[in-house]
């Protein structure tokens, strides 16, 4: 084998309390497409950021073309010919294609910009290097997502000095048709001898286009596939998951009764034809990668976004919530994914946050009865074991787990019928997780319906009675969690296995 284009050895990187990379390794040959896979938190983005010079590694070496890179900085990496295609597009909406491609690297001569020159160069780059026709005069805001992605790629490669391009989840926002376009461009680049690192959750894509694959787990390189075959996905998933599911979950099965929520043929920009139901006393999960439409389904149900078509029946009545307040009034409540922004008023006290949704109950007319509010919040804090127990503590100073309990506690005081939990345990430590899971089980046992949307497959398998699996805007299957393995769920969400 020739000298590796890139070699990262024994990379160590720790953050306060977390060892994100523990002697991870990554090696890329000239001209190959190298896949990088792993579960959330496995260390994929950390190792990429170390390579980009964004994070400084605590240990390990980075070698490019056989020469050790002494100082890994954004500049030195750029000079070595490594380019990054970030997940975010980072484009200016009102710029033209040409202006975007040459952003920060404009060509100019005497008398100002060489506009014609830049346009010609950009257009010929699209044609020759990416195998597509794209006019340099189009505005970014008039382009589809795939074309914007190509503009982003062109911006990274237009100077002709790229040797290795790192793609971070490039297809996440793309539909399958658009993905084809991107793959065509990637294939074209490969033919020109440019090596690539391809980071993705979609294992089907990995097996489609990658020559070799590195699997990370818990900050370590656990496996390198020297040969990638269509049926390698199973082995990859085993390598990615590779752990026992901890006994986090209470073993309760619920006897569901009565239709609480019925969703029929719901359509939205981000998803189509979504139908499912939730019974009272049942915990239903929604699984799916970022961009699968999972988040939007939650938003539409709660009235944060509007469906273009379809019907929602809640508690026996046809409903289309135009705003969250309608949903709350009907008895449907949300624990949002971004609790620090959407779930809590960080500078208010625990008590105020708990009572935020039920001010009516603790106020008479225009006067808020503070004592009553504090007492009520105190009871909730007791029940949920929120620490510190002081209801007048600022929400900002609580740990993630306790913050989440405050958000949950707010709705407990309302006596809601359906709880929608969006990423309920992101940034929550294991101890608090167990408590939150127990609380969710109790809600269901008490007769409420629960809908859990999560990117953690273990959480869904452990907590839910059944799971809706979404892929690229559609529910591809609905499965019972009885005897369901986490690897099987991962295979479904990543498109690595047909439903």
């Amino acid at each position: 084998m020739a000298v590796a284009l890139l070699q990262m050895h024994d990379i160590i990187k720790s953050f306060p309390g977390v060892l994100a990379l523990n002697k991870a390794a990554l090696s890329v040959q000239p001209g190959e497409i190298h896949g990088l896979v792993g579960e959330n938190g496995a260390g994929k983005s950390t190792i990429i950021k170390v390579l980009a010079g964004v994070y400084k590694a605590d240990g390990g070496t980075v070698t490019i073309d056989g020469e050790a890179l002494q100082d890994v900085t954004p500049r030195s990496v750029h000079e070595a010919g490594i380019r990054f295609i970030h997940q975010e597009l980072h484009l200016v909406q009102h710029f033209t294609v040409t202006e975007s491609v040459f952003m920060g690297q404009e060509l100019s001569g005497i008398g100002g910009l060489s506009r014609r020159d830049m346009k010609a160069k950009a257009e010929s780059f699209f044609k020759d290097a990416l195998g597509t026709e794209l006019s340099g005069d189009l505005l970014i805001r008039d382009l589809g997502i795939a074309e914007r992605k190509l503009v982003q790629i062109a911006r990274a490669l237009i100077d002709g000095a790229a040797k290795l391009v790192v793609f971070d989840e490039p297809t996440a926002p793309l539909s399958s048709g658009e993905t084809e376009k991107l793959f065509a461009a990637i294939t074209n680049l490969k033919a020109r001898g440019i090596a690539m690192i391809y980071v993705s959750h979609y294992l089907a894509e990995i097996t489609d286009i990658c020559d070799r694959v590195t699997v990370l787990r818990n900050g370590k390189t656990v496996s390198v596939f020297e040969e990638v075959l269509p049926d390698s996905t199973d082995a990859m998933i085993t390598a990615m998951v590779g752990r026992e599911i901890e006994a986090l979950f209470p073993d309760v099965s619920h006897c569901a009764s009565a239709d609480l929520l019925q969703v029929q043929n719901l359509h939205h920009q981000a998803f189509s034809n979504v139908s499912f139901d939730v019974q009272a006393g049942e915990i239903v999960g929604i699984a799916g990668l970022i961009g699968s439409g999972r988040e939007e389904v939650v938003d539409v149900l709660y009235g944060l976004k509007k469906a273009s078509e379809g019907a929602v029946k809640f508690n026996g009545k046809s409903q289309a919530f135009n705003a969250p307040k309608d949903a709350v009034a009907a008895g449907m409540v949300l624990v949002p994914r971004d609790r620090r922004h959407d779930g809590l008023v960080l500078d208010m006290s625990v008590s105020d946050n708990v009572n935020l949704a039920s001010l009516d109950d603790i106020s008479t007319g225009l006067i808020e009865r503070r004592k009553m509010g504090l007492a009520k919040a105190g009871a909730v804090a007791e029940q949920l074991d929120i620490r510190p127990r002081d209801p007048s503590a600022k929400a900002r100073n609580l740990s993630g787990g306790n913050q989440q309990k405050v958000v949950l506690g707010r709705w407990l005081t309302r006596g809601a019928k359906l709880f929608i939990l969006d990423e309920p345990t992101v940034g929550v430590d294991v101890g608090a997780k167990v408590e939150i899971y127990a609380l969710v089980e109790k809600l269901a046992a008490d007769g409420a319906g629960v809908l859990v949307s999560s990117s953690d497959p273990g959480e869904l398998v452990g907590l839910c009675d059944r799971i809706l699996v979404m892929l690229r805007g559609e529910i591809i299957t609905e499965i019972s969690t009885d005897g369901l393995g986490v690897d099987h769920l991962v295979a479904l969400t990543t498109g690595g296995q047909a439903a």
Partner: protein, 320 residues
């Protein structure tokens, strides 16, 4: 989807439609509204607004056109007025040569630009509040300098800007055209300008592309103060001296002109040439309204409504 798109199209077209209707109405009701002397008058009266709008356009291009969090500099008219006061005070009350007054005023403008930039980039105030505060402060200092009194100026250079002509066209108009072309070239036809636009278009995208965005924001505020400094000679020419209290009308017209320019630009963004066009249109409206005898309070009211229209249309465009 389709419904909101229709609404957006209507909103997009609204400012232009309103303007076209107003112009039709004016040309029908004022006999010589569409004539060469009127055109020249409109251009002459647009001069101070054009100059301060150049500065505002530059700041908005660098800071983005979000009315609240984007770039804005409300202190440019006050800068022009204080520079005019400094020059008038030097020339008339201290018998200094014009150039010395201009040098002092240049220094003042530089300080104002640097303070604005510092407040926005390092203290992280929103430009709207920061420049509003500096504007109020500048007006206060101007009153101290002039003791709230008018200071007449009869310097031949200023008189030339007022009355002279170059190649048969009013000197003020010609000089302003040159300045406007310089700003246009700088902002829209140079590498520096492209980077400035990228900074305002998407701060993240610009940083990812290796553009030092803070530096560009700072430079935009300096260029805005510079525009205020340039405008001072023309303000002096217009009033044959410095009169207190002229910044309010200028501020109103500047904001209207600059955002109006965005409504007319094909990409719906603030541009230098759009601001110039906007300033000329605003001047045309003023002249037109006066010509048909519209009460000055109504003119102010109509201008206010137009500002609302163009700003609302810009905000609605961003929502989509």
């Amino acid at each position: 989807m389709t419904q909101s798109l229709t609404i957006r199209r209507i909103l997009d077209a609204l400012p232009i439609t309103v303007f076209v209707l107003l112009f039709l109405y004016l040309s029908l009701n004022s006999a010589n509204f569409l004539s060469f002397p009127t055109l020249e008058l409109i251009l002459k009266q647009a001069v101070p607004t054009v100059l301060v709008s150049l500065g505002l356009a530059t700041v908005i291009v660098a800071g983005g056109d979000d009315v609240v969090s984007g770039g804005i500099d409300l202190s440019i008219p006050a800068t022009a007025i204080i520079c005019a006061a400094i020059v008038a005070d030097q020339v008339t009350n201290h018998q200094s040569p014009l150039i010395w007054g201009l040098v002092l005023a240049f220094g003042a403008a530089g300080i104002i630009g640097a303070v604005n930039a510092g407040l926005v980039v390092w203290v992280r105030m929103t430009p709207l509040l920061a420049t509003l505060a500096t504007s109020v402060a500048i007006v206060g200092v101007t009153k101290v300098i002039t003791e709230s009194r008018r200071i007449g100026v009869t310097d031949p250079t200023i008189v030339f800007i007022r009355d002279g002509s170059i190649a048969g066209i009013a000197a003020g108009v010609v000089l302003t055209t040159i300045v406007a072309l310089a700003y246009w070239h700088l902002v829209h036809r140079t590498k520096w300008g492209m980077n400035l636009q990228a900074t305002g278009g998407s701060r993240d995208a610009a940083e990812i592309s290796g553009i030092p965005t803070n530096r560009f924001v700072v430079q935009s505020f300096l260029l805005a103060a510079f525009a205020g400094w340039i405008a001072c000679s023309f303000v002096l020419a217009r009033g044959s001296g410095s009169s207190p209290g002229s910044e309010e009308n200028l501020l109103l017209e500047m904001v209207l002109a600059t955002f109006l320019g965005a409504a007319f630009s094909p990409r719906r963004v603030v541009t230098v040439w759009g601001a110039v066009l906007g300033a000329v249109l605003v001047s045309a409206l003023s002249v037109g309204f006066i010509s048909i005898g519209v009460n000055v309070f109504w003119t102010g009211c109509i201008k206010g409504v137009l500002i609302l229209l163009v700003v609302a249309s810009a905000a609605a465009g961003r929502e989509q």
